[in-house]
Symmetry: D2
Subunit: 308 residues, 4 copies
């Protein structure tokens, strides 16, 4: 299972479960993997920003990757972004040897100019090897690196191993249209575009030409259904489903506590045993937990998946 | 009409209408003012970030202020943030002489430490005079200045003329709770808290203790109704109304093009003659206009105000 | 006197003198203008960042410009950077009508991508008019906007009215070499490059191909001599002079208090009556003043100009 | 050898030598350690920002630490800053077991408010253990985190294991004075302050109350002599020595290529075999190498140590 430019559907950004004492909760790693598979996802993305990757030591990162890849039976993309290339190389080689489908690379926050971004991906490809399929993570709100469609095209055309864009610009609808326009005019080869941002614009992103979603919203089963309906051209049904979930999607999209919301819902859904995070971590107040419960209750009236 | 800490309800953040050639559209200034009044707003806030204030020259800023204040008959808050104190002083004196209810001051993006923020507001109060009621604008996503509840309390307690917080932190629900907690414990005097961010969290902000909204969502009539229902304790009705508008509220909250969305809807609602902005400005593609039209159509099924 | 790409020598970045009560000290404006002329500068640059331009109101900015231009008899460049184009247009038209040689435009700190920077200068030229000679201010340390040599070339080639680069990147020696290399290969037309950063690298900047300096170091007479020696090929003499001043140049290059140092020295040299700044302003402690006095004393042993 | 608040003198920030193929050059690690000892340093600091620590994998970091600690015979401080606490804990335990004198911790670039900074150091101390002496690295220019003297005092007073400040604010002279003032008034316990920034203000930092330097300037022997002269009250001699080196100190202080300059000089002085860096790395042009050679030649006229 190797990632290529035909990838589509939903790749769930997987949380990393911890025990209350901070140790990795491997039993929940398995349970969560099964949960995602039960939701019908096409693939998994692990060790991303929301997977608390920087809080893991290298041995843990590798152990989790091996465990998920062995169990999943679907393509697994592994985040290998690191402050230095030595760590990126070591992790990439480890997870590809374990059967990962590809890796995802975010630009370091210090990059500014178009040239700096293109050069960074050139060095990254030298680091991981030109034979390893990789995903560009384009996430300006968190990383403060802004990539134009032209820069993305330059990277894609320079590296045949670049097969996917994790599109997480905000706002980003025009970026999808621009990239698809490049392809229509013949200046960009096929590229999978999966969108992030917790799904906040997934309704229209599909209409603009996205191939699916790569995000961590705690209802990946809804994402799967939404992507399917959108691809089937059932516009009204797709928006109805999206709108029902939007209050919770919106609530999850709070910087600093978004992951806490997500883990709380995953725990309530039985996908993980604890909603613990490693420090530093955003913590939910009692009021916040009450608000989430309230939103779940309202959602459950129209979507039985929220009956938890 | 002087702003004080009992202010509540909805203060609409007013757009500034322009003609297609970039001149101020004074006829639409009047029409828009009437539109807001017809929506039942408690007050108006003009020359804010979304009012394209930095694109006006000082004479225009003063002329618009005078015109709106004279016509409105409700309290008008004027944004006087400026790169230098000379401009802040001149504009403040001008608009207060014209009958403004108070001014709003955002911190410059270079501030970092708690001390720097407190010192800045001390200098600002020296600039505008201790007798001019002012609003703190707390908007980290755009301004990159982060104010803790403690810093806000320090500023409020130091300056009796500080009567309101335009709360626009994101996420910010805990900040409202923290400030209201300070008041319960007696360490903070009364303070009006009106929330921004386009209304994206207004449903819960009201429940956390906000006094209302100060934001520019293109359906201020909905904001007025929502705030009234929330204050009346009609929780379900408030959330139902909010959820119906959330797809559009969400769409409006796109950095760079949010104002274009807002002006487009205001134009469709007949509140302004043109959706023109002064450069630099985000522009809506045909696809984006189609998406807004679609959202308005869906909204109109449950809220007749969207029949435009 | 119109600025063109043959400009060379020293353009002093002029301070703006204030009285202790914060009013503009017009007598010192004249005295300082005469001081610069006595130093042998080729031109003057007023209303730059170090000239406290954002702290002036528009009427003051125009009054100071007119006064300096009338008195100077050398080309005067006026900084017209502003948060909005309306203010930029008004100030540009005002000062060009008064006889300014050209204007200087810095990019707003929000720009990130190459395209955004190029687009901004396109809009700026539309604003000021294609007939007004302008200077690009390239100052990443303060403005956080990074322009590659390629971006600068694009702007220069697109706008015949772009005649000068105020080079203030840090480090920036390779940028000068890259631009001069573009010219040797024929891809860039003639362009004046004057360097800033308080002169901290002026010794080598001249050797890399700069045409001179545009900076505010409090010994413009030294800058004039240094540029002359460098252009005459007197390498050792140029470095000897530079090295003697380097301890003070270095001391002046402290963010936040650099202008205070500069005004203190200008006052000690008799060029202005007061070293007052408008708020917000960095303030020199007694210890800092003592350190400057000490550095002046050491400098005076080898350069009589420091006997103050 | 455990670090405590009486530490003084020069702690050289050690470069990490690499072979041209990117492997760690352990022979040069030894040679460089001997070089520093021959310069008379009081201690060493390894795995700092200039030590390319983020480019090492954990095994390399530990191997280098053990090797330097075993050989040095002077206190060795190890940089343990990491994106997550798991990595910080693992490295700290490893190097303390190997005999490190203490560790150095820089704040992550995302911190903004005073509370966030104080909380981060609280979590870091929980991570490394309250018995491990640590150094606060205060380096706003690179890290964009601004710590007031009050915040530093809070951290120091809360954690007895905080024994040193690596002072690298810029400008930072007043910060040293403020901290020493806190101690005179009795609100701050003893604290070692060693200064960084390549030594660019070391002349006056010593006069303001610094205990010495912790920086990587390629002439640590000069730093040792300068600190000794300053502490002996030989003001003129100290400044004469400083001024002779200032042109090179200044040249080394160029962001992005500073380390390349430093390694080039260390190689010319015979302290390391190669000036190679791991990617991403700034590279010196032929022109830059020529400029450094020229500066060394000029320096050699007054300081024989530069005869290389």
């Amino acid at each position: 299972m190797t990632l290529d430019a035909t990838a589509a559907g939903v790749y769930a950004i997987a949380a990393t479960p911890f025990l209350p004492d901070g140790a990795v909760d491997y039993a929940s790693v398995d349970r969560l993997t099964d949960f995602y598979l039960g939701c019908g996802v096409t693939g998994l993305t692990i060790l991303g920003i929301m997977g608390e990757a920087p809080k893991l030591d290298p041995a843990e990162a590798l152990a989790i990757s091996e465990r998920v890849i062995r169990r999943a039976g679907v393509p697994v993309v592994v985040g290998v972004s690191a402050p230095g290339f030595a760590a990126m190389r070591a992790l990439t080689h480890g997870v590809m040897a374990s059967g990962a489908a590809g890796v995802m690379i975010a630009p370091p926050p210090t990059l500014r100019t178009d040239d700096q971004i293109v050069t960074y991906y050139r060095q990254a490809v030298e680091t991981i090897g030109a034979d390893v399929p990789f995903v560009i993570q384009d996430y300006p709100l968190t990383l403060s690196v802004v990539m134009t469609p032209t820069v993305i095209r330059t990277i894609v055309m320079e590296h045949p191993s670049c097969v996917m864009l994790k599109h997480e610009d905000w706002p980003g609808l025009e970026k999808i249209s621009a990239l698809r326009g490049f392809q229509r005019e013949g200046s960009l080869r096929p590229l999978s575009i999966l969108t992030g941002n917790g799904g906040l614009f997934l309704d229209f992103e599909m209409e603009r030409g996205a191939d699916g979603a790569m995000t961590g919203y705690a209802f990946p089963d809804m994402l799967v259904e939404l992507v399917a309906r959108a691809r089937a051209g059932e516009r009204e049904a797709a928006h109805d489903l999206f709108d029902a979930h939007l209050p919770l999607i919106r609530y999850e999209q709070q910087q600093g506590i978004g992951l806490a919301v997500r883990k709380y819902v995953l725990q309530r859904r039985g996908a993980i045993a604890h909603d613990a995070q490693r420090a530093p971590a955003g913590v939910l107040s009692a009021a916040a937990r009450g608000e989430i419960d309230y939103l779940l209750g309202r959602l459950a009236r129209v979507d039985g998946r929220a009956l938890v």
